[in-house]
Symmetry: C2
Subunit: 334 residues, 2 copies
DNA sequence: TTGTACGCGTTATCAT
DNA sequence: ATGATAACGCGTACAA
């Protein structure tokens, strides 16, 4: 409605030139204390806020970093987003979040929107953008890829060892004496889902257990998938004493389906999730889950891109995962 | 790293003037098909994206709407955010999310950042910004206040009747025969927490039940609060057959504490939450909860501000709440 | 110490 | 039908 206050307005009211005002705003030296005083006064009265578009234009920097997330409402991505938010706070840079919805199409147009907004850097969480496009992007500005591995872009990738994580989760169950361990896999077009499945298989193999295909259900990373998995096994009469779900949300679903069938956790069946969402500490029973430091990863992504934005080099460390052992797993009694 | 492609570049390569290119980009009439063809070709090759800052500068519109949320990782705000996201998709407008952390200080600086970015409108989710500032903001640009009621800004407020919601939730328990209904309240400086408490009280009063202060615990809208509430009652020997929590997260905490104490839900104690988060359908047992159409509210907020951005008037309807009855509540047997 | 003038990339208003 | 050119708000080199 009402036009924004500009430097010009301030200059006019304070009776000085616009460059003087500009100098004061960027606290450059060489200004009479009186004028500075006067101008600052006027600024306070008029409620001036610099126009970021204009600043971006002339400076060639937008002080903005794009964040491409897949699902703005997923608890998984939100923890990372929170870390990113904290990582940028007080730095002058502002993250802009856009959604890819796990569709290369949407992701591409979201990235285009960010480029139009002149982002100085880009953080991409997961997604399906073709590697070729990622290469192209990495040549425009600093780029961080969280949870993705792209050959040739190693210095941009923040990797979590999903294979190792799944291996450890499965071994935890094996060490508790479980032999028939079912697995609810994620969407097979997601790299992390495949790696987690591989880790599960590998742990079984190393323990000298034959892989049984009937113990694997392919889910979609959401709660209903967990329900369907358990229902499918129970219906088919498949026996198991433990379940390893490729993420917590599917574990929640499985937990509910087991409850409905009168199967107790952990007395009858042990349950392990993956991601260790905040809610898992409070689920019933508290869920044993593979912990990824999502918040820290977000923070680290922000810090890394921040230092690269100042043309400094810095490595991205491999992210370590640790199992949060809670009450959903226990010894298997034969 | 590499400078962005500009209209100038395209004009040079295509051998035309910048105004011609601009015309083609804004598909204005009066251009030779051949030139149009040629320019479009060059644009495709060079991968041009218009500079939104420059466009914003000259047009006086940034095609951007600010969204002030309180906690980027709260499942509550995220559902609304998702609605907002969907509401804006394909409109040319882009939402920019910033965080207030429930601190008037942070909120103010977040809003300042949005103003610097020249947002054309503002959606505020909850928060503690003084009413005076909200009034000032509403004079700058279209403003939508979700979950807040400010005198004089009625046309900006999207209200949910928390009092009514709490009343209905409590009455549900009363109708099931419960008389000793405990309440886990929210942070008392939040209006919705107070209203929910009032609704609870009012329902009791209408049912001819005396208010018992020992049945109320003041929590902080998070899971640990729910645990502490139950622990405090059990420790003090307070008896109750039902709990009404002012939000789902506190209900989850209460559920866990009851479980640890060997108190079954719903056999021994009925449990009602508020917000009906997506996860509540899959909790153990599925939680009876007061449903607020969070996603729809976000979508509506986006649509409303969108129409106001085009100087059209439009009313914001009162949002209705409905109880999602699930398995955490049942008849009280005396 | 201060003010003038130019340029950032784009749109819009003029001439041509 | 097309091409100069003046804005938009800001930072800054340069002149005063």
């Amino acid at each position: 409605m009402s036009r924004n206050v500009t430097i010009k307005d301030i200059a006019k009211v304070a009776g000085v030139s616009i460059s003087t005002v500009s100098r004061i705003l960027n606290n450059a030296p060489l200004v009479t204390p009186e004028k500075r005083q006067k101008v600052l006064e006027v600024i306070g009265q008029l409620g001036y806020e610099p126009n970021a578009s204009a600043q971006g234009l002339v400076r060639g920097k937008s002080m903005t970093v794009g964040v491409l997330t897949q699902d703005i409402a997923s608890p998984f991505y939100n923890e990372v987003a929170r870390g990113i938010d904290v990582g940028f706070s007080g730095t002058g840079y502002q993250p802009i979040f856009v959604n890819g919805h796990w569709e290369a199409q949407d992701e591409a147009s979201a990235v285009a929107a960010l480029i139009r907004r002149q982002v100085d850097g880009l953080i991409i969480l997961g997604g399906r953008l073709p590697e070729q496009q990622l290469h192209a992007l990495s040549e425009r500005f600093p780029l961080i890829l969280v949870g993705r591995y792209v050959p040739g872009l190693e210095h941009c990738c923040m990797r979590v060892d999903d294979l190792q994580g799944a291996y450890l989760a499965t071994r935890h169950l094996l060490e508790l004496g479980h032999r028939r361990i079912a697995h609810i896999a994620g969407i097979t077009s997601h790299r992390d889902a495949v790696e987690r499945f591989e880790g599960y298989r590998m742990a079984l193999t190393d323990a000298g257990i034959d892989f049984d295909e009937s113990l694997v259900y392919e889910g979609e990373f959401d709660e209903p998938s967990g329900i369907l998995a358990v229902e499918s096994w129970v219906t088919k009469g498949v026996h198991f004493s433990a379940i390893f779900a490729a993420n917590d949300q599917m574990a929640y679903g499985a937990r509910l389906a087991l409850y409905r069938r009168g199967i107790r956790v952990p007395e009858d069946v042990s349950l392990v999730g993956y991601d260790d969402l905040p809610a898992s500490s409070f689920s019933l029973p508290p869920l044993t889950s593979m912990h990824q430091p999502l918040f820290e990863m977000g923070e680290l992504a922000a810090q890394t891109i921040l230092t690269r934005l100042q043309d400094q080099d810095c490595e991205i460390p491999q992210i370590a995962v640790t199992l949060s052992v809670r009450e959903s797993t226990r010894y298997h009694r034969r």
